[in-house]
Every structure is written in C-alpha cells, then in structure tokens.
Symmetry: D2
Subunit: 233 residues, 4 copies
C-alpha cells in the first residue's frame, strides 16, 4: 500500500470562476479521485488553509509519496513546513512536484537553483516521451497533445536531472524539460510541468497514467527514521 498525501494550495479554485469551473472541488480532489482507482494507493489531501498546511510531522511520517501543487501562496508558505518536507524527502519520502510547484520553497531548497523559466498563457503543448524505457513512461504514448496549456520554456534553471523523461513542445516556439527526475538523500523527486489551473489537464487519462507511474517510481526503496549524520568510525 502506497500512502499518498496530495497537497494542493486550493486558492485559485476558490478565487477565480474560470478555475472553479474546471476544478469545482479543487485540483487535489481531482487527483485523489483518479489515484483512488488503484487499489495499491491510499490517498489523503492537505491544503494551504489547514493548520501547518495540513503537513504536520505526523502526516509526513505517515506519507510515502507527497504530491505537491502550489502557486499563489508560495511566498506565504511556512518556512518551517518547507524544511520539514525537505527533511522527510532526504529520509526517503517520494515527491511529485506539479506545474508551478517548481517555484515552491520546497523545490528551491531541495534543488538549490533559482528554478526560473519562461512562461506564457494559452498555447498548445505536445508532450514527447524522450525516455521510453523509464518506468514513468510505461504505457504512455510517445506524444500527448494538450490543446491548451501554459507554456513553460527554457532556459529552465534546474540542476542536471537524473533523467529527462518528457520534453514539451509549445506552439509559440519554446521547448521545455517537462518531466524530470532527481534524487535528494534517500528521496526521489519527479517534477512534471503540465497542470495549469485553468485547463482540464488532470482529467487527461495519459496525464493521469504518468502521475500514477510517478507515484510508484518515487515510492521509497528505503526510509530512514532519523536524519543522517556524519559517522566517525
């Protein structure tokens, strides 16, 4: 059983009508619904408004994989909780960071770079699989067309990924490393670009398949119960 916690900021869905229409119960509920189809996955959710953003020590200790979507409140996100998430990733908890979560405190502290990129609303994306032997690509077509998506473009200031699984083509002329894996400590990370809140990206069956594969890929091989220390011997 993989214990998944889905953190979604859940602000845009309440503030903007056009987002509410797409995700009336929030992005987290949409993701929870398709993950629940799989009997080996157990889901709980957390949002910005909850105490400690719903990511208490207790919750994270009981989480194998954290899915993370955030945007409007990234600056207000608690420093302490960001460091707590980092701690659990270094001990082994898997992390699937979606779309604008590239710019979250969690991702910045784990990856160490500025995480900057180019962006533009309202383009067509074609998502190409450039690493078909990767477990995250299992059962995924070689190209997925997203008629409307926010463009994210290079140069994307990330450390060299362990693997680039998907590359995005955007109608306006940009490319992007759209699906990237990283390892930090005992934790595996998958960053996945699609998922602008105004477009129904997370209802796409192929996008759902990728997120399900990612959950299994970042599910820890080993989990440490305390922080690592330098060991004299």
């Amino acid at each position: 059983m993989i214990r998944v916690t889905i953190y979604n900021e859940f602000v845009h869905e309440k503030e903007y009508e056009e987002v509410k229409k797409v995700y009336p119960q929030g992005i987290h509920t949409c993701i929870a619904n398709f993950l629940k189809e799989d009997s080996d996955i157990m889901v709980r959710t957390a949002t910005f408004e909850e105490k400690e953003h719903g990511l208490s020590e207790e919750v994270l200790s009981d989480t194998d994989v954290l899915i993370f979507w955030s945007h409007a409140r990234q600056d207000e996100f608690s420093d302490e909780v960001a460091l707590r998430v980092k701690k659990h990733v270094l001990r082994g908890m898997g992390l699937v960071a979606l779309h604008s979560a590239h710019y979250s405190k969690v991702m910045k502290t784990l990856l160490g770079t500025s995480m900057t990129l180019k962006w533009h609303h309202g383009e067509t994306e074609r998502l190409w699989c450039v690493n078909p032997t990767h477990p995250i690509a299992e059962g995924v077509p070689e190209v997925i067309e997203l008629p409307m998506e926010e463009m994210y473009g290079e140069f994307f200031d990330i450390p060299k990924p362990d693997d680039v699984v998907f590359a995005g083509w955007f109608s306006g002329g940009n490319v992007f490393r759209s699906g990237c894996t990283f390892t930090r400590g005992y934790g595996k990370i998958f960053y996945f670009q699609p998922g602008h809140e105004e477009y129904p990206i997370y209802y796409d069956k192929n996008i759902q398949k990728i997120i399900k594969n990612a959950v299994r890929f970042v599910n820890p091989v080993v989990r440490k119960e305390s922080d690592l220390e330098c060991v004299g011997q």
Copy 2:
C-alpha cells in the same frame, strides 16, 4: 594547434543542382573556410571518393578532431575505415558528427544503438540552448532560428548523452536532442543535428560558433598511441 580533418561525403553537392547552389565547393570547403579564421586550428579535408575515403591510418594518426558529414553513401562506406575511425576515437581523437552522420557506421559502432529518429523536410527550427554553462554553448545565443531545416524528431534512439547542450523545436510539432555529447574510451563526441544539405545552415555565424566550440571541446585531453588492453598486475 588543433589538427582538424573534415570528412564530407561530397556526393549530393555534385548530383543535385539545388545542393550545388548552396555549397558549390562542398560542405567540407564551407566548414574549412570558417574554421581557418581561427589561428589555433589547422584544417584538412577528406571525401568519400578518395582512397580509403581520405581517412588513412596516417591521416587519422595526425588528426586531433574529425568532423564527419555523410548521408547518401553510408552503406557503401568501408567497414574497415569505420573501425579505424572508432579505434582512433577510443584512443582519444575527438569526433564532431553532423546531421545525417548520426546514421553512419562510425556513429552506430561507437554508440551501440539503432540511431533511428523521425524526419521531415522543410520546417523551421528553433535551436534552444538548455545547458548554457557548457563550453560548447560559450558565446551562443539562447535561441537560434533556422528558417528552413530538415526536421529530426524524437524518439531518437541514442544512449543517454553525457550532456544535452541544445534542444530543437520544429514548426511541425516535434522536438529533438539536437546537440549531445558522449564519451567513448579517451575520445569525446559531439553530435549536432543542424545541417541539411539543401539549406545554407553552415553559413550561419552561430552554427559556426557552435562547431568551433565543439572542436575545442572534443580536442583530446589525452591521446593513447595504442589500443587499450586488459592489464593483469
């Protein structure tokens, strides 16, 4: 002084008027001309029609970096010469493989994969730098637009590159790992996709800058005088 040998098949330029117009003296001469601008580079050329394709043991022993363009005669290329090139790369000779040379015997035997890809004539390419700290990217703009180029598209069946320096965006909807480095033995390899024979790609100042940077990057750090062997000790 970097001793560069430019191998160009030199068949299309003689057989097709539209290619002859672009490269009246052959692609090799065009490349030689811009490399000669740099006083630390010494150039010689070789073509398919020459004895041993101009790539004798003597020539390769006297070559630091081999630039390689081929297409129409790849099947007829001598197996022996292909293995000779491989031998020299493993001993340290640098290799810059251009455009359709991905499918040459030399590249196939060095990389070990099928080297297959998708292709289509006559699209616009935008070549994005996704690795701006790489020496091959020095002084190169973040995006280069090639109004007309042959599309090469993923999935490109190559081993995982050491580095992907450039990613190609094509107007028809494809992406490509357009500039990739590999190491084999003591030799460094740069594969660079632009350069279809019907379009004046190698006259572009930015493309020239990339090829000059690549020559310096693959120039051997160390060169062995004989093949490596397993050593009991």
Copy 3:
C-alpha cells in the same frame, strides 16, 4: 512472469577441478537454483556448447531478461549470435552481464568501448552501495565483504553509466565501478563485477539478492517486435 534465460559458457567448470568443486553443475545451475525461489521468475539455461550457444532466435524472442556469464570462449563466440543478442536488447530485452562478460562480444558491441580494465586474482573485495535509492540496491546491506574475489580495477573503459550502484574496494589498493546500469535502445543493461569462477560468489545471499533485483530492474518496460527504423513523416 519474468522469463529469464541464463547463458553460462560452462567451460571452466568442466576443465578445472577447483572450479568444478565450487560449481559442480555449472554457474548457470547455481544461478537458476536461487532465481527459482521466486515465483514470478521462470528460468531456462543456455551454454556455449549448445547449437547457436543455446541462444536461437526462438529462445531470445521468448526471453525477457538474459543473464550472461562468459570468459574462456569469448573469441570463439558466434558473431551472428552476438548481433542477435544485441538486436533483442535494442528491442527491449534486459541484459545482466556478469563478471568477465564485460569483455564479451555482446557487451563490446552494445557499449562501443574497449571494455578494458586491470585484474589480479585472489584479493578481498568490499562492495559498497553508493546509490541506496536505486531499485537494484533494495534490501542490500551498505557493504558486502567477499573474502576472496578477483580484483577488477580502474580505469575501466566503459561509457558513462546511467547509474553506478556499487563500488568495489580491493585489498591490494584498487577501486572499481562494480555495478553499473546502461540503456541501449529499449533495453536495460546491468553490469555486475563479482563472480570469479574459483570462488563461491553466487552462493552469497546478498549477491543473489542483487541479481534478483537486477532481473526485475532490466525487465522490459516495453518490447518492440521489430527493429527500429528512421521514419519519414
């Protein structure tokens, strides 16, 4: 069900008493015996003496993962069969190459380098896990001591591995990248250094665990029914 074929040359075990004592029924039988403990693995074996070395088109088409041990007859191994194995790896068949198989025709044609290294009989090896989040490291202790093993030492002339999972320390003063993954086409490869024929390495429970993990890791994500070709579109 993972269909595993174990190719073992099976020459040393018949020619040398000291090897026969360790593996009276051959290395392949020892490996088959521990793999059979797992109900999701189906095993068959092949040896050098068999027709086409037991690796006919039919056998390979029916194989998900090929385990490969060879040494004394590597030069006499059929070129045709080596290319056949390569073809199936490029289409997706997994490959686990053990010990001296680094120098087999199969590995040389897939990896493209000389595959040379340093060697010396009769040292103690300590095998360190340097990549504990890798699936091949699951359930494996951080260090495995092999009281007697053949030293394999750097410089090991391989392309940059996708991942180095294990690093070997040898009592005489050498180090080695002892467990390395590679991808070629749709096929995953794991090279694993331990397994000199005079020492009972493959009876070690931790070594067995690593090989079992490797079988699952290289088990194909996708399998192609024919060779890839360049596709005009």
Copy 4:
C-alpha cells in the same frame, strides 16, 4: 586572467601545533603560493575572522572562482554570507570546495542534501582517476598515493554528480567519490575530498595540478549581473 579568491577558515592552524607545523601561514597561503605560479591566475585570500569572513559583495563580484576550505567554524559561519556565495554561484562564479567544506552552509544550500559521510583519521589513500578525459584530470597520473589522509567514506549523501572524476581507496576498507562536479545555475562546482589539515596534502604536486585544473574548469563560461527571474513573454 582568472580572479581567484581562496577562503580558508584559518582556525586549526592557529589553535593546534601539529597543524601549524604543516601550514604555518595557513592553508590559504599554501594554496595561494602554488596558484601564483600560473600567470593567468590572480589570487586573493579571505578568512573566517575577517569582516563578513572576507567575502563581501564587492569581493565576490570581483571573483571568478572561489576556493573554499572550512571545518571548525561552519556552524558560526554567517547565514547571510552563505546565501551571498550561493547567489554568486548561481550567477556563474565557480566554486572549488575542499575536504570538510562538504559540510559547509554554502555546500548544503547549493546541493540540497545532508552531505553526510563516514570519516576516520589516519589512513592511506589511493586516489584513482576514473574519468581520464575530464579536463580536471589533464596531466594527472592514474593513481595518486597519499600516505596519510583522513578517510572519507560512502555512503556520501550528495545529489548525483555531473561527473565523478576521482574515486578514493582507503586502507581501512572504504571507498569515496573524491572528486565530483556539479552545476548550479550558471555556476560550476568541484568538490575535492583530499586536504585534512594535519597532513601536507596541498604540497603534493599532483594535488596542486588537480586544483589548478579545477580552477580553469569552473571558471565561468558566462556570468550574470543579476539574479535570474521567471520571465513572462
């Protein structure tokens, strides 16, 4: 001209007689002396006791490559200065982190992991080059023996390096990724394990050669004048 700033904590050399004997004027002076042999390198030094540890905005803006040795005062090192160093690395400044600097605030914030390892005083190290084509390995022998060094051992909790150039063998039975490159933003980083303060490591001509090569390798390809930002377009 490469403008190098050598930061050395310079505490052990004043507090311990045995360290003072080895580096009477501090590790920074020893490193400065051998770097000054090269006419393309300009050197200045900085120490913990200086205002802002000698690493003011002005100094870092005027630095191409920062060499960094620290140990006893890593906890007391200014958070603000650590972030300033990070900022300059992301903009392109090169960083050569030596020995115990793996555990500095600067390295932790750039790499994102715990940076933990095993350690033990007083072993023999053999430093093997496992990447002889890397520019940092130019002119360096395949193995360097350090009769007395502090053992640093795996598991070393770092992100996957861009390249592992050197691997350390220690007489007590440990191995270590002793020379690793990373990229963060526009900055290149080389971490190099040798250099315990009680042993005359930085007087070794081969160690000096490696540090000189590293300075040239991390010297920026491009330098940004301000922090990167996400760019809407």
